[in-house]
Each structure stands twice: as structure tokens, then as C-alpha cells.
């Protein structure tokens, strides 16, 4: 069995340079089913400080979307979701700009919140994205993977 049939229209995964519209994405999940009791969301933002100006996000086209879809399908069945959405931006993003959006719709809050937490933890180390940091002094550094992130992903 594949996830495709029973999740058609219920799982949305996108990798894009454009901004996303949280209201629009939430409304799309709201329209799926009367049985929805809650929609949980997480939005990741480019965090300033230490002279950071921007992040440059690179991805592996194709593999990245596949990996996010596998994660979303796992969340969908594991937490009995009604729908979920994962949108990840790529390219150069300034401090304060949204990077990633995870939405999970479920009958009850625990499932929606847990699924959101699962998705954001797992996608940090499980989908082929890489970040380079750009600083005010012109320095540019690739972000190293953090052991805390790997531990958080493994915790699920």
C-alpha cells in the first residue's frame, strides 16, 4: 500500500523561494473535513544576532521533496492526521524572514501538536537542505549540523 491514495489532497509538501501565506495554508486544511478539532502550526524564522545578515538555503531538488513527503506520510499515519502541510523556503533569506512552515490538522490537539513537533524535528536533519550564514563583516560560513538536532530527530 502506498500513502498516495488515502492521503490525496491531504498532504502538501513544497520547496520554494517565494514567501508563504499562513492564513491561506491554514484555510486549505480547515476545508478538508468537519471532524477537524485543531490545527497546530510551527513557523521557523531566520534568527538575528551575532551579526547575522541572511541565510542562504541550498537543497537537493527532487530528493528533498521526496524526503519531506515520506516524513509527512509518516506523520499522517502515526498521528492519525486529517491533513498536514510542510513548506520550506530556499535561496537567500534575511533576518526576520520565515523559512519553514509546518501545519498539522487532527481531530484532537495532542495529535496535531505532536505531529508538528515530530515534523520539524525530523526535517532538520532528514531532508537535504543546507544553510550558509552571511554576516555583516562579509564572512560566510556553512552551518554545521548540531548534535542536539540529531538527538531531537532520533528521539521520535
Amino acid at each position: 500500500m502506498t500513502g498516495a491514495a488515502h492521503t490525496a489532497g491531504r498532504i502538501q509538501v513544497r520547496v520554494q523561494s517565494d514567501p508563504f501565506d499562513v492564513g491561506h495554508e491554514t484555510a486549505r486544511l480547515l476545508g478538508l473535513e468537519d471532524g477537524t478539532g485543531g490545527i497546530s502550526s510551527f513557523m521557523g524564522i531566520v534568527r538575528g544576532g551575532n551579526g547575522l545578515v541572511a541565510l542562504e538555503l541550498e537543497h537537493y531538488p527532487g530528493m528533498c521533496e521526496d524526503a519531506l513527503t515520506v516524513l509527512a506520510e509518516e506523520a499522517f499515519s502515526r498521528f492519525a492526521l486529517i491533513g498536514c502541510t510542510v513548506i520550506h523556503r530556499v535561496g537567500r533569506l534575511l533576518v526576520g524572514e520565515p523559512i519553514v512552515l509546518v501545519l498539522a490538522a487532527a481531530a484532537h490537539r495532542a495529535a496535531a501538536l505532536d505531529a508538528t513537533h515530530f515534523l520539524i524535528d525530523r526535517l532538520k536533519t532528514g531532508a537535504p537542505f543546507w544553510k550558509a550564514e552571511e554576516f555583516t563583516d562579509g564572512q560566510r560560513l556553512w552551518v554545521e549540523s548540531r548534535s542536539e538536532d540529531e538527538a531531537a530527530a532520533a528521539g521520535w
Binding site: 538555503l57 537537493y60 527532487g62 526535517l123 532538520k124 536533519t125 537542505f129 544553510k131
Partner: protein
Amino acid sequence: MSGTATILYFAALRERIGRGSETVPLTADVSTVGDLLAERRRQDETLEDVFAQPGRVRVAVNRVLGDLSTPVHAGDEVAFFPPMTGG
């Protein structure tokens, strides 16, 4: 074994190597990712330098994560990249 494989490099590896992709012939000696990498390192000084540096490298074959023992066949897409840092 004959034919070619496409090798992709991403992020810091791509920048250090100076290119994002290359198409290489698959010789009879190459049956795994480890064989392919060893052969490329022997053939190309830049690759030898970059892969000799400490740091973890991940590999995917045909867009599925693998390791040095993953088989490589003609027409495959083999990607090398640093640990992923999304989110």
C-alpha cells in the same frame, strides 16, 4: 560494468570541489559507492584533498540515503553532501 554515473556535490562540498556535478565512466572495478569514491580520489587531486579533510559526508544513490557499501550501477545518480541542516 560499463556506462556512466552522474555524481553530484552539494553545499560546502560543492564549493570546495568547485563544481556541482560530473559524469564519470564506471569501470569494471567499481561496484559500490566506496569503490567509486576511491577511484575518483585517485584520479582527481581536488577530490583527494577535499575528501581527505575531516568532516562527515553523507551519500545518496538515486536520491535515497546510502553508505559506502551501496551498489552503484550505470545510469545511477550518486550525491555527496554534508550532514543536512534544514529547518
